[in-house]
């Protein structure tokens, strides 16, 4: 019973916040709705007993991606004074969201205590090996059965990195890079010179 109730709560809020992510006019609000959607997706994962993936969702997406998105959003031209203006007016809404989140957490923990939901997969291929935790089960598959794909995924990340560098890195003529070997090779007697410039003439360095 608690499973079904928790499932529908998480599912409905995930979809609703995903819709608002798209429809929100303010990009900052979009990002915040997106975080809410990720949190609820993580809740769904917890319900199915995949707590490791739930953790990954929160850490990877909510943590890194949301912060990254916020950086991008910060670069847009947004009037933050105007944003803060509605604080008191929107306080009840914020309180409501907080209460919903609290209720979700209580429900989620309750459902998790009651055991994982039955996914009803057609064959038993997706079943967790008995006695193994999520992380052990994933690691066992990732480094044996899916080794080829795991390595190939590594190359994808490398390609993405090469791409980012190719498209953004450029040699600038107006900056001077540090040449460490040259600095170390330098001797004190080369570093200082005595010159007697004539009056009114510059010094050639």
């Amino acid at each position: 019973m608690i499973h079904v109730f928790a499932f529908y709560l998480f599912a409905v809020i995930t979809i609703a916040s995903a819709v608002t992510t798209i429809t929100a006019r303010n990009p900052v609000h979009s990002v915040l709705w997106l975080i809410l959607a990720f949190f609820n997706a993580a809740g769904l994962m917890v319900l199915t007993g995949a707590e490791f993936i739930a953790m990954l969702l929160v850490i990877v997406y909510v943590g890194a991606v949301a912060v990254l998105f916020l950086f991008v959003v910060m670069m847009l031209d947004i009037d933050f004074a105007e944003l803060r203006a509605g604080f008191v007016k929107n306080f009840p809404l914020g309180l409501l969201v907080a209460i919903v989140l609290l209720a979700e957490m209580v429900l989620g923990i309750g459902a998790y205590r009651a055991g994982a939901m039955d996914l009803g997969t057609p064959d038993g291929a997706a079943a967790t090996p008995a006695g193994a935790s999520n992380i052990e089960a994933i690691g066992g598959l990732l480094y044996s059965r899916y080794l080829f794909l795991f390595e190939a995924a590594g190359i994808i990340l490398l390609v993405a990195m090469i791409g980012a560098i190719v498209l953004t890195h450029r040699q600038r003529s107006d900056t001077r890079g540090q040449k460490i070997s040259k600095q170390i090779m330098r001797r004190p007697d080369e570093a200082t010179v005595n010159v007697k410039p004539e009056v009114g003439k510059g010094v050639q360095l």
């Binding site: 994808i156 090469i162 791409g163």
Partner: protein, 487 residues
């Protein structure tokens, strides 16, 4: 599963990944000065990989011996056929690149590295035996392709094409992933053979949605109508050697992948997707033909021509028989030769200052100023239009023959009628080159490598190509048999 056997089967992939990593190190230390050396080594690596896949193709490898890593990867004759086409196209786009980029002072050491990794990803795509392999190969290829499209950073059109390709490509990947997740949800497995056996008891609505979404995502990647809008913009904006690459290798890879998914994973459900493929193929033929008429930029014209050709190839898929698959593979090989030749010829159109000429009106009277180049381009245009005795006719002929054999005469008839519309704009280019007053623009000198590739592809599509029909047909039959064996 035997690990050493699996590792032996992925030898071409291992060669390319090690080569890519080593070349990247050379690029990191040598800088852009070493780009020539890296290009040569990359071509050598692609040649080595071709030699490694050749035995599987000549021996017609199929069956369980060709399946690696629990069926996730298949190194059969079909994969080898597609891989050889991919490696040849990738090598050609490396050979023609330095002269183009030198003009903009933009030859960078990462270009060959990215092409090698893209070729690796495309090899994984055509070898896919699992939805996960499919997606990883596709993303490896796509990510490299997005960067290659935007490679000329100083050129706004190149940046625009890279951005467009990236945004639309990500959307298509999302649609494809959605279809894959539906398929996985309703069959409980990601392996193609598993999906096939899970669906043998009947197709649920959810799985049908999965097929439709996957087909939509794949149609984007092969630039079939109605997911073709990005093609002219990207082909026009991307640097010409990169466009050459886009028009050949990724087309082969995506079509090969589509064949694998449709004929293998959903092979028993042909009735469910056949009408979609028929629509896509006819729409591509018609839109490709009509859209090309108004174009004045020759790269955009070639983009519409590729949409049109993809439509003809999809007729081979729509009939869903081994003959159809084999016809499609024959057409693919001829199409690759025509596209390579066409884009290399475009690359050779330079004015006296060495700027690249892309406007079709500027080609007026080319036959009088540069008769050899005009003849090459004219032969490629005739071949693309499918006019006998050129080899392009043979590709269309085998595809229509397979449709007639499968009793889909209406499909073949509409296809033939539409190819007449298509012939119009190819002939228009020939008319401008041969019968208009010379515009006298194209005067620049050309690189020997461009000439070699143009001559090679023109000889291949000339009537001499018919000497190869038996050999090419035999290889395509072996490849199609391997594709059908894994059912």
């Amino acid at each position: 599963m035997d690990w050493s056997q699996s590792l032996r089967l992925i030898a071409p992939e291992e060669t390319l990944s090690v080569a890519g990593l080593v070349l990247l190190l050379i690029a990191a230390w040598g800088g852009d000065k070493s780009s020539r050396l890296i290009s040569i080594l990359a071509v050598a690596a692609l040649a080595a990989a071709s030699f490694l896949v050749a035995p599987a193709l000549c021996g017609g490898a199929m069956g369980p011996d060709t399946s690696a890593f629990f069926g996730q990867f298949r190194a059969d004759a079909f994969a080898s056929y597609a891989k050889i086409l991919i490696y040849i196209s990738a090598a050609a786009s490396l050979v023609i690149a330095p002269k183009f980029f030198d003009r903009f002072d933009a030859m960078r050491a990462e270009y060959p590295v990215l092409v090698v990794f893209a070729a690796l990803g495309m090899g994984i795509m055509v070898s896919a035996g699992d939805l996960l392999t499919l997606y990883i190969g596709l993303e490896m290829n796509s990510l490299a392709a997005y960067v290659l499209a935007a490679f000329l950073r100083t050129d706004d059109r190149s940046a625009e094409s890279g951005l467009k390709y990236f945004v639309l490509g990500s959307l298509a990947s999302g649609i494809l992933l959605f279809g894959m997740s539906l398929t996985y949800g309703f069959t409980g497995t990601t392996s193609f053979s598993g999906i096939n056996s899970a669906l043998s008891s009947g197709l649920s609505h959810g799985a049908l949605f999965g097929i439709v979404f996957m087909l939509a995502g794949l149609a984007f990647k092969i630039s079939a109508v109605p997911f073709h809008m990005w093609t002219p913009d990207v082909y026009e904006g991307a640097p010409t050697p990169v466009t050459t690459f886009f028009a050949t290798a990724p087309k082969v890879a995506a079509l090969g992948l589509t064949m694998r998914v449709m004929l293998d994973a959903f092979g028993d459900q042909a009735a469910a997707w056949q009408q979609i493929v028929i629509f896509i193929s006819l729409a591509s033929i018609v839109v490709g033909a009509l859209g090309a008429i108004g174009q004045t930029n020759i790269k955009r014209l070639m983009a519409y021509s590729s949409i049109n050709n993809v439509g003809f190839m999809l007729i081979g898929l729509a009939v869903a028989t081994p003959q159809g698959a084999s016809a499609m593979l024959v057409y693919l090989a001829i199409y690759v030769a025509m596209s390579l030749g066409g884009f290399v010829a475009i690359l050779m159109l330079k004015d006296e200052n060495g700027n690249f000429v892309e406007d079709i009106p500027m080609l007026a009277g080319l036959s009088r100023t540069r008769p050899a180049l005009a003849l090459g381009l004219a032969m490629i245009m005739f071949s693309l239009a499918g006019i006998p005795p050129l080899f392009g006719f043979w590709g269309k002929f085998v595809v229509f023959q397979s449709a007639v054999q499968a009793n889909m005469i209406a499909l073949a008839a509409i296809g033939i009628a539409a190819s007449v519309i298509g012939a119009f704009y190819y002939l228009k280019v020939v008319k401008i080159m041969y019968f208009d007053e010379p515009a006298d623009v194209v005067k620049g000198e050309n690189d020997i490598w461009h000439k070699i590739i143009l001559v090679a592809s023109v000889v291949f599509i000339s009537p001499l190509g018919y000497l190869l029909t038996k050999w090419l047909g035999g290889l395509a039959d072996a490849a199609a048999a391997a594709l059908y064996f894994s059912l």
